[in-house]
């Protein structure tokens, strides 16, 4: 039979863990709703911006069209990997790292290099172990502070376009987790450059002010920044959703362990009482008989 004091201690420890997981679930729920609202609010903005770019794409056919139609020989691809800075979110970071290692393997088989930009250090330390010397990896911060997220996205976008234009990289993609529902999440590879524009039926004569080049120079990094911003928000939504599910499971597990421990505790207590009673009665009998 277990020691009553030990059981009581175990119950107390699991009770405190349960309180922590339950609180984390609530916090993740609030953050999830906030991230969802931000994602929805920026979706319309991103769609309209993309439509404007589609109108430019029709007009724009010189050298910068590489930004829209891509390069034939892709030697180095920039992969922006969105993972988390914190743990306790189930297999969220593991799935990202797993997908990235597969993508990197495919690149290496094709003789290509990767330029990895990690958002969130969980994936950074894992991916660092599997890359080759020809690859490049760096960690960017600022994405997990709500006030800096737009600024950080724009900074990364400007850098990406600059590297693309100076032929350091030939393509930009993002690996992130898309959240379809509270329980369904999938890791996806999203192509950012070449820019994917929805075809437009607008064939009317259009004036571009000041001129197409300047608008492109201004809008392409901005559009990329907005795409990165949206991807970061989607990623944050998935992280919080994953954390909420994990913490919910942890709370349920704590509940079931607590219930088992309480039964064991009560049985032990009952056994002790019965034993003591038996001893008292046997003692009283012995005295009466003596």
């Amino acid at each position: 039979m277990a020691n009553l004091k030990e059981l009581k201690n175990k119950i107390n420890v699991i009770n405190s863990t349960r309180k922590v997981t339950s609180a984390m679930k609530l916090v993740a729920g609030v953050k999830l709703r906030k991230a969802e609202q931000q994602t929805n609010a920026s979706r319309d903005y991103a769609t309209e911006l993309n439509r404007i770019l589609a109108r430019l794409n029709q007009k724009f056919i010189d050298i910068k069209s590489e930004l829209f139609h891509g390069r034939k020989n892709v030697q180095t691809e920039m992969l922006i990997v969105f993972s988390s800075d914190r743990g306790l979110c189930g297999n969220y970071n593991y799935l990202i790292t797993d997908e990235v290692s597969q993508v990197i393997d495919d690149f290496h088989k094709d003789g290509k290099n990767v330029y990895i930009v990690c958002v969130g250090n969980k994936a950074f330390f894992q991916i660092k172990k599997i890359i080759e010397k020809t690859d490049h990896i760096e960690l960017v911060d600022g994405f997990y502070n709500e006030k800096n997220i737009v600024e950080a996205s724009m900074l990364l976008a400007r850098k990406g376009v600059e590297y693309f234009q100076s032929n350091v990289i030939d393509k930009i993609s993002a690996v992130y987790t898309k959240s379809y529902s509270a329980i369904k999440r999938e890791v996806e590879l999203k192509k950012l450059i070449p820019i994917k524009c929805e075809p437009t039926n607008d064939k009317s004569e259009t004036i571009f002010e000041p001129n197409v080049d300047e608008i492109i120079d201004e809008l392409v990094p901005y559009n990329l920044g907005i795409q990165i911003y949206q991807t970061a928000l989607e990623s944050m939504t998935s992280e919080q959703s994953s954390r909420m599910t994990s913490m919910d499971n942890a709370t349920r597990n704590a509940d079931s362990i607590l219930s088992e421990l309480r039964i064991t505790y009560n049985r032990t207590r009952q056994y002790r009482i019965t034993q003591e009673l038996t001893e008292v009665i046997s003692g009283a009998d012995a005295i009466a008989e003596g």
């Binding site: 931000q38 609010a41 920026s42 319309d44 903005y45 309209e48 911006l49 439509r51 404007i52 109108r55 430019l56 737009v150 607008d202 009317s204 004569e205 259009t206 004036i207 571009f208 002010e209 000041p210 300047e214 608008i215 201004e218 809008l219 907005i226 911003y229």
Partner: protein, 82 residues
């Protein structure tokens, strides 16, 4: 014509307009019904939307942005001061 003014995370205006005064990069311009299709960068200034039957315009102070007008539909992607 229809006007839609968007800033990141918020729709500032969406509705009918009879006249829109735009702080375009090459000078202030006025968009009216059946204006030629145009895509222009915007500079810091006031974007004024005149609604039907309302004398006073709705004004938005913008930092920069881009305007796209075609088929009597104007879309403004703007950045405003924080």
């Amino acid at each position: 014509m229809n006007a839609k003014i968007l800033k990141l995370g918020k729709e500032l205006f969406n509705g009918e307009a009879v006249r829109i005064v735009v702080p375009a990069i090459e000078g202030e311009m006025c968009l009216l019904q059946n204006h030629i299709s145009i895509v222009t960068a915007l500079k810091k200034g006031y974007l004024k939307v005149y609604r039907p039957m309302v004398e006073r315009p709705v004004s938005f102070a913008i930092e920069r942005g881009v305007c796209s007008f075609s088929d009597n539909s104007a879309i403004f992607i703007v950045e405003t001061a924080a």
